[in-house]
């Protein structure tokens, strides 16, 4: 059916430089977005492999495929890659770059060269992280949180891993600065704040967290390095420092960071739900403001990771209350998605299925978060696999599934090719079942008392661990089917028109894939809202 190869369509065919240099030196937001997407997906698959190895080791009590030290290194590297190289940049850096300028009617971001620079920081961080695994005293074994005093004393290659995370933080800051400026300065004529797609609103809130919180991670990691190199002693009680302060500084960034991870995912869902319900978003302003509210309130709850660290009961009370407050804007989002579905003309296309799975799984993860935010139950659940399960429900069941939803929703836009939708539904089914089996079992065994980060366990935890491991195989199968299906579409998928889903945001009114500078000669003038579906229909397949 299709004869034109991908590289001679849209922005792929227009570049001042030929071949690989056209990518490595390009300041076009779409090319940078595709670079990010490729790297992020690769990193994701590497970390998935490590995750599967962890589950395999936990299949039964005793040592199977790895020693305790290897196990420590495996979960650490799994965490570092998943957090810093996949989830944090996943939606904002990949889809944010691809879509933000088009959705607000701009030709590019405010600082295209800094945008490219941020990708170079990302790739340098990625390379350093990989080098850290294979050099020095062996892969880091601290867990992705780098808690002192262990991280300042272990002989493994923590220095390089920490420096890699520092570089990635810088990359994230530059993206944040770029996006905030772009949204303020480059909106097209008629693109008022009230007409911004909700994905842009969430990117806006995310970018602010990136700007305001990430430097705290930077200084914390610098201090860990100084401690290792010079014995700086700022976290060492013997020289007047305080190890607990590390935890505070670390979580002052790393808790807001989970909202860097989830907010853009919520934005993706807010684009998909109205399109496939053929209804405007219910409560547009509530959705927009709740994104900012999550970003704000989420910055004040960091110490709920530290209930067991010995801080005062009063502090626990305050942080517990603040944590519960974050649940309010999150719940507003869930209610509004469901209200949008209500009496909508729902089409269960693949992106919609992923979005619906997101709502269910994020709700489960969010409610589990309340069990952890409440001091009384947290003391029981602290450092059990319940925490790991909860985290994966929000980050994988939430952000991960939103990332898959975004891939199924927007990838055709940027390749001009449609994947096989039946296969996509099958992969969704496998992922949905595999995911819930794996992490529900993990949560259940956590409630029974199985500690996290242990490579061996008591026999009474065997059954549920076995179930979780079998679930991880279904999950892996689902991932293989999904990525093969998407990858095949690049070569042989049927060509699509401008608007395969009937979306009403601006990206659906430019060709697929979009041309260089997105809008041709004339700047777009926006005259309608992002979810105004009147007169907008999907292309005939």
């Amino acid at each position: 059916m299709t004869t034109t190869p991908l590289k001679s369509t849209g922005f792929y065919s227009e570049s001042p430089r030929p071949g690989l240099l056209g990518w490595l030196l390009s300041t076009d937001h779409k090319r940078i977005g595709m670079l990010y997407l490729g790297c992020i997906t690769t990193m994701f698959l590497v970390a998935v492999g490590l995750g599967l190895a962890i589950r395999l080791q936990l299949f039964a009590p005793g040592q199977h495929i790895m020693s305790a030290q290897t196990y420590n290194a495996t979960f650490t590297v799994h965490g570092i890659i998943m957090i810093f190289l996949f989830i944090i940049p996943s939606i904002p850096a990949a889809f944010g770059n691809l879509l933000l300028p088009i959705q607000i009617g701009a030709r590019d971001v405010s600082f295209p060269r800094i945008n490219l620079l941020s990708w170079y920081f990302y790739i340098s961080g990625a390379v350093l992280a990989v080098i850290a695994i294979f050099s020095g005293g062996g892969p880091p074994d601290t867990g992705w949180t780098f808690y002192v005093p262990f991280s300042t004393q272990t002989t493994t290659n923590v220095n390089l891993a920490v420096f890699a995370a520092f570089m990635l933080g810088f990359s994230s800051i530059l993206t944040g600065i770029n996006f905030v400026t772009t949204i303020h300065r480059l909106r097209a004529e008629g693109m008022t704040w009230g007409r911004l797609p909700l994905f842009v609103w969430t990117l806006y809130a995310t970018a602010w967290i990136q700007v305001l919180a990430t430097p705290m991670l930077g200084i914390t990691l610098v201090l860990v390095m100084l401690e290792r190199f010079f014995g700086a002693g700022l976290f060492d009680a013997a020289s007047g420092g305080d190890p607990i302060l590390f935890q505070h500084l670390f979580w002052i960034y790393s808790h807001p960071a989970v909202y860097i991870m989830i907010l853009p995912a919520m934005g993706v869902i807010s684009e998909i739900i109205p399109t496939f319900s053929r209804k405007p978003m219910f409560g547009y302003w509530a959705m927009a403001i709740s994104s900012l509210a999550i970003a704000f309130a989420g910055s004040l709850v960091w110490a709920h990771h530290m209930y067991a660290s010995g801080m005062s009961d009063f502090a626990i009370l305050v942080f517990s209350l603040l944590t519960f407050i974050v649940a309010i804007p999150s719940a507003i989002k869930i209610f509004n998605w469901i209200s949008t579905l209500y009496k909508g003309s729902i089409q269960l296309a693949p992106p919609m299925l992923f979005a619906l799975a997101f709502i269910l799984q994020f709700a489960i993860g969010g409610l589990g978060g309340l069990a952890l935010g409440a001091a009384a139950s947290d003391i029981h659940l602290h450092d059990t696999t319940f925490v790991v399960g909860h985290f994966h429900y929000t980050m994988f069941g939430g952000t991960g599934f939103a990332f898959f939803a975004a891939l199924h929703y927007w990838l055709p836009k940027f390749t001009g090719r449609m994947y096989n939708q039946k296969t996509a539904v099958i992969s969704w089914g496998l992922l949905f079942v595999g995911f819930n089996v794996t992490y529900m079992a993990m949560q259940a065994v956590g409630i029974q008392g199985m500690p996290r980060r242990y490579y061996d366990y008591l026999p009474e935890f065997h059954t549920l661990n076995m179930v979780a491991t079998v679930g991880s195989w279904i999950l892996a199968l689902g991932l293989i089917v999904m990525f093969v299906n998407l990858f095949k579409s690049l070569r042989s998928g049927p060509v699509i028109g401008m608007n395969p889903w009937g979306g009403a945001t601006l990206e659906w009114f430019v060709p697929s894939p979009p041309p260089m500078e997105n809008f041709g000669e004339e700047d777009p003038v926006v005259t309608r809202g992002p979810y105004d579906y009147q007169g907008v229909t999907a292309d005939e397949p």
């Binding site: 030709r107 600065i177 010079f230 700086a232 002693g233 020289s239 007047g240 260089m516």
Partner: protein, 199 residues
């Protein structure tokens, strides 16, 4: 193909955002300071008295003056006085170097007394004093690094002014460098009393 896009307000806006990130970077160290000074108040007063207030005072004057010269450089370029603008940039850089030289002598003196992170002399002085000097070295060190970066930045901009790339109607780069320099100055204005003037 790509037509030129220029947005000076956007560039300034971006710079302000970047300055926020710098403030937060330093605020991590200020937080540590806040906790430690509450915990070891007496030791902090004792340790602060070991610093030579004159070194700090001179450096404060030097940096404040350099903030003035870089601000004057902007006025100069607005009035299209290229020569004056370059000279003022050079003076700013000279003041930055003066600051670092001053710092070098101050640190050499303290190191010669055996006061530096993880030194035995420092550990013998007790956890409070040790915490003070550890924080002092790393906060001032990070600030010194920023002085170096800022001076380099101004040097680059001065070259661009000389080559006519930064002109009287296109000087946002100089403005942003000056903003950065003011931040470097501002951080020092907080550092100086916190470390030198505790009584």
């Amino acid at each position: 193909m790509s037509h030129e896009h220029r947005d000076d307000t956007g560039a300034r806006f971006g710079m302000w955002l970047f300055l926020y990130t710098e403030v937060i970077l330093f605020s991590g160290l200020f937080l540590l300071y806040g906790v430690a000074v509450t915990k070891y108040t007496d030791a902090y007063i004792l340790a602060s008295n070991k610093l030579n207030v004159w070194f700090g005072a001179v450096n404060t004057v030097v940096l404040l003056t350099s903030s003035l010269t870089i601000a004057l450089a902007i006025t100069a370029i607005q009035r299209n006085r290229i020569r004056t603008c370059i000279n003022l940039c050079v003076v700013t850089i000279a003041l930055a170097i003066l600051f670092l030289i001053n710092k070098y002598f101050e640190w050499s003196h303290e190191i010669s007394l055996g006061i530096y992170p993880a030194s035995e002399t420092l550990l013998e002085m007790g956890p409070g004093v040790a915490s003070f000097f550890n924080l002092y070295y790393f906060t001032a060190g990070l600030h010194g690094l920023h002085v170096l970066i800022g001076a380099t930045l101004i040097g680059v901009v001065a070259v661009l002014v000389a080559r006519g790339k930064v002109t009287s109607d296109r000087y946002v780069l100089l403005e942003n460098s000056a903003l950065y320099w003011h931040l470097v100055d501002l951080v020092w204005i907080f550092l100086f009393p916190l470390y030198y003037l505790i009584i």
